[in-house]
């Protein structure tokens, strides 16, 4: 097996918020019937996390379950375990109307932290990222400039941003530009 490298190999930027290409992360795309207990139980059993409500993210150690749409979840896990976890979940869901795919290598992940991160985000997205509308444990799928992205807030108030790996370089440049020192909005 060749050595896997994330899209920007851990590039970082220190602006008025800190940006970091977050390296390799296991990502498993799951579709299924959220109303079926067998489906929700299998997902929670794999991750140890509660099943998320609409637009929620639930975290448990290395794992997270992100609500992506009424019939789609994204499971985050350790990169090394992604294929084994996907295989295990697919086996657990055998016979169900469900689909499991390891998409780890098709995605890029960025971490953004700093007190003013909402100011950097609001330059790039039409989504409401104010404190009232976007809180820890929430996921917002939107666009950052011209690229589709999912943004979620961790318990510590930092955010992670996921996009297609093919636009990883574009995304990093967008985030760095939005976080340029001196380019604070001063709200």
């Amino acid at each position: 097996m060749s050595e896997a490298i994330s899209v920007l190999n851990g590039a970082t930027f220190d602006g008025f918020v800190s940006i970091k290409e977050a390296g390799l992360r296991g990502m498993i795309s799951v579709r299924g019937d959220f109303a079926a207990a067998s489906f929700t139980k299998a997902v929670s059993a794999l991750t140890g996390a509660d099943f998320p409500a609409v637009n929620e993210a639930k975290f448990a150690g290395d794992y997270a379950i992100l609500w992506m749409s009424p019939d789609e979840l994204l499971i985050l896990c350790a990169y090394e375990n992604a294929q084994a976890d996907a295989d295990k979940l697919a086996a657990d869901l055998a016979g169900e109307h469900a689909l499991v795919a390891n998409v780890s290598d098709a995605r890029a992940l960025f971490a953004m932290s700093g007190e003013l991160l909402r100011e950097a985000l609001m330059k790039l997205t039409p989504a409401n990222v104010s404190e009232d509308a976007f809180k820890p444990g929430q996921v917002r799928r939107t666009r950052l400039a011209q690229a589709a992205a999912a943004v979620w807030m961790l318990e510590d108030g930092s955010v992670e941003i996921m996009c297609f790996r093919s636009v990883g370089d574009y995304m990093f440049k967008l985030l760095c530009n939005a976080a340029n020192p001196g380019a604070e909005l001063g709200l």
Partner: protein, 107 residues
């Protein structure tokens, strides 16, 4: 700027997060229809100044298609509702009538 609330994820989505799908509730005309019916199905659109029913897709979000009833003149949004309906639901019709008493109604 137009903001529509996606009925599937509840997100107040900006127009730029959505893809337009044109007029809603078209009835498909296929084999067996007259030339005029097919032509009207393909090309004939209402284009009203006022109440209009449209299809939209939350393409930068949850990805689901949904319906919206809005005013093309004021951009007022009366309702957004499920894609799984061939006609506007009663509560949507009522919401429009409450705000546009003179509206000629949906056909």
């Amino acid at each position: 700027m137009l903001i529509l609330e996606c009925p599937y994820c509840g997100v107040a989505a900006d127009e730029t997060e959505l893809s337009p799908g044109g007029e809603a509730h078209l009835v498909r005309q296929g084999p067996g229809s007259s030339d005029q019916e097919l032509e009207s199905y393909l090309f004939g659109r209402k284009n009203p100044k006022g109440v209009h029913f449209e299809r939209w897709r939350h393409s930068y979000g949850c990805g689901k298609w949904f319906h919206a009833a809005r005013c093309t003149m004021t951009l007022e949004v009366f309702a957004t509702y499920s894609a799984q309906t061939p006609v506007p639901p009663k509560n949507v019709i009522n919401a429009i009538k409450a705000k546009r008493p003179d509206w000629e109604g949906w056909t």
